[in-house]
C-alpha cells in the first residue's frame, strides 16, 4: 500500500466539502417545501376546526338567513354553477380558437406581435379593473343589467388571457414534424389542426383551462362591481336573472359580520368551495389522462 499523494489528499478533502455543501443545499430545499406544506395544513386545520360544527346537509340546501343555524349556501352554489358554466362555455372556445389562430395561422407581422404582447399584459391586469370594464360594457352599454350573464362575460374576459397563453404553450409543444407530415399528405391547415395538432395538445390545454377556472371560481372583486350581492335567498332562474351570488361572495359576506357564529359559517363555506375546486380538478385530471391514453 502506498501513501496517497499530496494532490490526492487535497482532492479527497475537496470532495468532502462538496458533499457537505450538497447536503446543506438539499436541506434548504426540503425546508422550503415543508414550509409551504405546513402553511397549507395549518390552513386546512384552521378551516375545518372552525367550520366543522356547521357541516350538514342543511347547510348545502338552505338559503342564507340572519339566524346562523338556519343559514345555508344553496343559492351561492347554484350562482357559482351558473357563472362557471357560462364562463367556461364562453371562454374555452374563444380562448382555444384564438390560440390556434395565433400559433398556427397568423403571419409573422408586427401587428400580430403586438397582440401577443398585449395578451400577456392582460393576464397581469388586476381583476377589479375587469369588473369596471364589465360594468361599463356589459351592464351599461350593452344593457345586460347586473345579471349572471354580465358576470360570466366579465369573468370570461378575466380568464381569456390565461387560457390563450396556456393553450399556445400547449400547441408549441407539438413537434413541427407532425405538422409537416400532415401537410405533405395534402392536408389543409384546418385538417392538420383538427386531427393531429389539437388532439396532441389537449392535455396541455386542459391544464390551462383548469387553472383559469380555478381562478374564476375564487374571484370576488369583479363580481361585486358587476353586481353580485351577498344575501340572495333564491337560486338564479336563468342567465338574465339580476340577483345572484357566488360562493366567495357569500363567504366574504359571512366573514364580515360581527357575530362569531357567522365566522364559523364562513369556514364551512370555504370547505364547500375547496371540495368543489378539488372535484373540478379531479375531473379535469381524469379527462386529461383519458385523452393522453387515447392519443398513444
Amino acid at each position: 500500500m502506498t501513501e496517497p499523494s499530496l494532490e490526492e489528499k487535497a482532492l479527497r478533502q475537496n470532495l468532502r466539502v462538496r458533499h457537505k455543501k450538497e447536503k446543506a443545499f438539499k436541506f434548504l430545499c426540503m425546508m422550503a417545501s415543508a414550509f409551504s406544506l405546513l402553511f397549507l395544513f395549518s390552513l386546512f386545520y384552521n378551516v375545518i376546526s372552525n367550520g366543522w360544527s356547521y357541516v350538514s346537509w342543511d347547510f348545502l340546501t338552505h338559503f342564507p338567513s340572519r339566524f346562523p343555524h338556519k343559514a345555508g349556501i344553496q343559492s351561492a352554489i347554484w350562482g357559482s354553477v351558473w357563472l362557471m358554466g357560462l364562463t367556461a362555455s364562453l371562454a374555452i372556445p374563444i380562448g382555444v380558437a384564438a390560440s390556434i389562430y395565433l400559433e398556427e395561422f397568423a403571419p409573422k407581422h408586427p401587428l400580430i406581435k403586438m397582440v401577443e404582447v398585449n395578451i400577456s399584459n392582460l393576464a397581469g391586469v388586476p381583476s377589479v379593473v375587469y369588473g369596471l370594464l364589465g360594468l361599463t360594457i356589459f351592464v351599461r352599454v350593452l344593457g345586460l343589467g347586473r345579471s349572471v350573464l354580465s358576470g360570466a362575460l366579465t369573468m370570461s374576459l378575466l380568464v381569456l388571457p390565461v387560457i390563450i397563453i396556456a393553450s399556445r404553450e400547449a400547441l408549441k409543444t407539438v413537434p413541427d414534424s407532425m405538422r409537416y407530415a400532415a401537410l405533405a399528405l395534402g392536408a389543409t391547415k384546418w385538417q392538420m389542426v383538427r386531427d393531429h395538432v389539437l388532439p396532441a395538445s389537449i392535455p396541455g390545454i386542459m391544464t390551462g383551462v383548469i387553472l383559469a377556472m380555478s381562478r374564476a371560481i375564487g374571484e370576488t372583486a369583479p363580481l361585486l362591481i358587476v353586481g353580485a350581492v351577498g344575501f340572495v335567498p333564491f337560486n338564479p332562474r336563468g342567465p338574465m336573472d339580476e340577483a345572484f351570488t357566488v360562493m366567495p361572495i357569500q363567504i366574504y359576506n359571512w366573514a364580515s359580520r360581527p357575530q362569531e357564529a357567522f365566522h364559523e359559517l364562513a369556514a364551512t363555506g370555504i370547505m364547500v368551495l375547496l371540495v368543489v375546486l378539488l372535484a373540478m380538478n379531479s375531473i379535469a385530471i381524469y379527462l386529461r389522462h383519458r385523452f393522453q391514453r387515447k392519443n398513444l
Binding site: S177, M178, A182, L183, A184, L185, N295
Partner: protein, 265 residues
C-alpha cells in the same frame, strides 16, 4: 472557386424521355441568405435521382421546393420555376394543397402520427376525399412498402409502437397510399441502423418501378447503390448532374471528384 455552369447539360441524359419534374433557374432565399442558386434539373419518370453534397449545401432546401414545403418557413423567397409535367407549381393559380397530394414526401426522422397503424395510412386518402375501399387501399400501401407481413395482425396498434425502421416504412406506406406521381425523400435513412437502412434501400429499388423518386442523402455509397442519376450540390450550386455510374467513375468537375474521393465533406 471554379465557375459553375448554370444548367449542366449532359449528353448521357435521356433525350427521348420527357421529364416528370423540372426546375429551371431555381433560386431559394432565406431572408438575405441564398440557399439554392439558379438550379436547373430534370427528374425522369420511374427513376431514382439522388442529391448528394456536404452538410449545408442546400440539398434539403432544394428538395423542399419540389412540393412547396418551404412555403411554411417564414422569410423564404423563390425565384425561377419548378415544373410538374408542364405546370409551373409556383404559378399563382396553383393550389399547393392539391399539389402535395401528387408529390409525396418522406422525412429525415420517422414521423408517424400518434394514431393506429391503419389510421396512419388511411388518413391522407381520407382527408383528400379519395373514393374506393379504404381497407384495400391501406393493405395495398402496406404491402408495397414491405410492411404488411409485420403489421397485418396489429393494425389497431399505435404507429409509435413500431421500431424506427418500421416507422419509416409506415411513413412511406402513408405516402404511397396517396398514389403520388413523385416521392421526395429527405435523408430517409439517416436515423436508422444499417439493417433497417438496407430494407429501405431495397424498398426504394422496388418503388421506382412505379414512382419517380428524388432522394437527398449524405451517404455517397447509398447514392451509388440505389440511384440512376446523381446530383452533386455544393454551396447552393448544382455542380454536376448525370447518370450515377458516370458521376462516380468519371466525374467531369474536380469538386465532384474531390467530394466523392472523400477529400472534403
Amino acid at each position: 472557386m471554379m465557375p459553375v455552369q448554370p444548367s449542366p447539360v449532359d449528353q448521357t441524359l435521356p433525350q427521348s424521355v420527357s421529364p416528370i419534374m423540372r426546375t429551371v433557374d431555381l433560386s431559394l432565399y432565406y431572408q438575405d441568405f441564398q440557399a439554392v442558386k439558379k438550379a436547373s434539373l430534370s427528374i425522369f419518370p420511374e427513376t431514382v435521382t439522388a442529391v448528394i453534397g456536404p452538410s449545408g449545401c442546400g440539398k434539403s432546401s432544394y428538395l423542399r421546393c419540389f412540393n412547396r414545403m418551404n412555403d411554411f418557413t417564414p422569410g423564404t423567397k423563390i425565384d425561377g420555376q419548378v415544373f410538374l409535367h408542364d405546370q409551373n407549381i409556383y404559378a399563382p393559380d396553383v393550389d399547393p394543397v392539391a399539389l402535395r397530394r401528387n408529390i409525396g414526401m418522406v422525412f429525415q426522422k420517422p414521423n408517424p402520427f400518434p394514431k393506429s397503424i391503419y389510421h396512419n395510412v388511411a388518413w391522407g386518402p381520407k382527408i383528400n376525399g379519395m373514393a374506393g375501399d379504404m381497407r384495400a387501399r391501406v393493405e395495398r400501401a402496406l404491402k408495397k412498402s414491405a410492411l404488411w407481413d409485420e403489421v397485418k395482425d396489429k393494425l389497431t396498434q399505435s404507429g409509435l409502437s413500431l421500431s424506427g425502421g418500421q416507422q419509416q416504412r409506415l411513413c412511406i406506406a402513408r405516402t404511397i397510399a396517396m398514389e403520388p406521381d413523385v416521392i421526395l425523400m429527405d435523408e430517409p435513412c439517416s436515423a436508422l441502423d444499417p439493417i433497417s437502412t438496407g430494407r429501405i434501400e431495397d424498398l426504394i429499388f422496388e418503388l421506382k418501378k412505379k414512382y419517380s423518386i428524388v432522394i437527398v442523402t449524405h451517404n455517397m455509397q447509398q447514392a451509388a447503390r440505389i440511384s440512376d442519376f446523381t446530383v452533386f450540390m455544393y454551396q447552393g450550386d448544382i455542380v454536376e448532374y448525370g447518370p450515377t455510374e458516370r458521376i462516380f467513375t468519371n466525374p467531369e468537375k474536380k469538386q465532384t471528384e474531390d467530394y466523392i474521393r472523400g477529400k472534403f465533406g
